[in-house]
């Protein structure tokens, strides 16, 4: 970790320079507008949307003509009186988002609440792992979406199966990463803790949990991704509200611009969720942020 002037690419400022935080921030900000990447990126996105518009709206090539063009999507999205009932002014639109968000929160919290302790315990007590891990390994190769029919059979109503599927996806990812986290803790930390006179519960709370934390958050992030993924599919198959339902319903009702609106909304919402988890993780694990160069 020697200061190495050899690396001509500027050393990571954000990680280390808390003392120089402001000047570094300003430097970054100034560079943002100087950087080619910003303009290239804008150009790329404009080119992408432009091509899309050209193919679907202007040239109306065969097959492409059927797809909604970006202008139609944007008009629908920003209209006060949307033709298909979905725009930033339509309460219905927010209702769909809220339903999806509420479901994902329920599923994700259940999965975290169950998955993290089970994973920690599996890593902590070998006997427990010996008994539970094989069952997990037998169930895991089955894609979560193959559970759809069984979930509908098992759970009453429309709501519970959907949440169950999102839960299941997140649950496996959380358990496995937590387990991996505990197993990755250096043996010498346990020895040091014991030398310092820790009792088992001290070791559990002061070594096992913080030691596994980085992996737990990786698990949560993956878990959120797959939960969102499964939720959309479950909503498409059986739902009354939610963004997945909106996509499918718009297809059935031939309201094609709404499909794109729903897709983009899903992308943005999913992205925001994973961002949130990353931020919580970074706040809880200052030490890893500082160590990373």
């Amino acid at each position: 970790m020697e200061y190495d002037p050899a690396s001509e690419s500027a050393p990571d400022i954000s990680g280390r320079g808390r003392s120089r935080g402001f000047s570094a921030l300003r430097y970054k900000f100034e560079n943002l507008f100087k950087s080619r990447d910003l303009y290239l990126g804008l150009f790329g996105i404009i080119a992408f949307v432009g091509t899309w518009h050209l193919l679907t709206g202007v040239l109306t090539l065969p097959r492409f003509e059927k797809l909604p063009n970006p202008v139609a999507v944007l008009t629908e999205f920003t209209s006060r009186h949307p033709v298909f009932g979905t725009s930033i002014y339509a309460p219905q639109y927010y209702l769909h988002i809220l339903w999806s968000v509420w479901r994902i929160i329920e599923a994700f919290f259940l999965a975290t609440l169950l998955g993290v302790p089970i994973g920690l315990f599996m890593g902590w007590k070998k006997v427990f792992k010996d008994y539970t891990f094989p069952i997990l390994e037998m169930l895991r190769p089955i894609p979560v979406l193959a559970w759809v029919p069984l979930a509908i059979l098992m759970w009453p109503g429309r709501e519970a199966p959907i949440i169950f599927l999102a839960f299941l996806a997140s649950f496996f990812a959380t358990i496995l990463n937590t387990l991996l986290g505990v197993e990755s803790i250096d043996e010498s930390y346990f020895r040091a803790a014991r030398c310092l006179g820790s009792r088992p519960r001290h070791i559990f709370f002061r070594v096992v949990i913080p030691g596994a934390l980085p992996f737990i958050f990786t698990g949560l992030q993956i878990g959120m991704g797959v939960a969102w993924f499964s939720l959309v599919a479950a909503e498409m198959l059986s739902g009354e509200y939610g963004l997945g339902y909106l996509v499918w319903d718009s297809y059935v009702l031939i309201q094609y611009p709404v499909i794109i609106i729903a897709m983009v909304t899903m992308g943005v919402t999913g992205f925001l969720f994973s961002l949130l988890i990353r931020m919580v993780g970074n706040a809880l694990m200052r030490w890893t942020v500082r160590e990373a160069t």
């Binding site: 970790m1 020697e2 200061y3 002037p5 001509e8 500027a10 000047s23 430097y27």
Partner: protein
């Protein structure tokens, strides 16, 4: 005799790596970095020469800018001012950056053997990509040099299957097969334990005595510097400048026994005196904080 002929063989016939003398002149080199808007002067007005075939060891506190100098010679970095010449030709200056090439072979601090190639393939790599040899010839030459350096048994192993000491030796072999004018080594033995290090140093000395290449060797281990070098250049704390130059007049070929000779101990005192003050300065400047 055999040594000479084998050297010729490595060089190939229409050699891309020219067999000149390998004299390096470093004059008034300055290097300023600009990480995040803060100017850092890594090297300031640094001048010294390395004679052809000389084993020059550069010593200085951690992070003093030795590596910057090496990277400039190797062609990985530009310099802000001054110039570096190899055999009279300008290698790099304020306006010109050197091109990496097979006439200046680098051995890296943490080793850079390609992990996806076996030892033999690693050693063959240079001659075969330069187009100096067919892959058949390259294989023969690589086997030759491995045999000569006592490494033939590990030819088919992957780098991560052999010990770190062995890896360093293979890397030196990979450099030497190209018959470079100069060998640039950046703390190559840093990560080795003391015993392995001793063996690796003797290995390098044997290779040097046989090939007589110009060597630019960076270390912060003073004993290593004295044991290996013909000339020891002691650098100041950043910005890097020459503080003192010491000619090591210990007889060659050297073995570990040199370390207990009287002359060695005298030189050691001289070097330690010169470096201690710099080390203190570096320590106070809180260089570690930047690490």
């Amino acid at each position: 005799m055999t040594d000479k002929s084998s050297t010729k063989k490595f060089a190939g016939t229409n050699s891309a790596a020219p067999s000149g003398d390998g004299r390096i002149e470093i004059s008034n080199v300055t290097k300023i970095y600009d990480p995040g808007g803060v100017n850092v002067c890594a090297v300031s007005d640094c001048s010294f020469d390395i004679e052809a075939g000389e084993f020059c060891v550069v010593v200085g506190p951690s992070g003093c800018g030795k590596t910057t100098l090496l990277n400039a010679i190797a062609g990985f970095h530009s310099i802000s001012d001054g110039e570096i010449r190899l055999d009279g030709d300008v290698l790099c200056s304020a306006t010109k950056m050197a091109e990496p090439g097979a006439d200046r072979m680098v051995v890296f601090q943490n080793g850079a053997l390609f992990p996806w190639c076996t030892v033999l393939k690693n050693v063959m790599y240079g001659p075969s990509v330069q187009g100096r040899m067919t892959s058949h010839q390259a294989r023969a030459a690589a086997l030759d040099i491995l045999r000569e350096l006592g490494l033939s048994e590990i030819g088919d192993a992957y780098p991560n299957e052999i010990s770190s000491g062995m890896r360093r030796r293979v890397e030196i072999a990979r450099a030497l097969i190209n018959d470079p004018k100069a060998l640039l080594l950046d703390e190559p033995f840093r990560a080795l334990d003391a015993l392995t290090k001793g063996v690796a140093q003797e290995f390098l000395l044997q290779a040097y005595d046989r090939m007589k290449k110009t060597v630019f060797f960076i270390t912060h281990d003073l004993e290593e510097a004295l044991f290996l070098g013909t000339k020891v250049v002691i650098m100041t704390t950043r910005p890097c400048r020459v503080r003192k130059m010491i000619t090591v007049d210990l007889p060659r070929p050297r073995t570990y026994k040199v370390r207990s000779s009287k002359r060695y101990l005298e030189l050691k005192r001289e070097v330690f005196d010169a470096v201690h003050e710099e080390a203190l300065k570096a320590f106070k400047a809180g260089e570690r904080e930047l690490a």
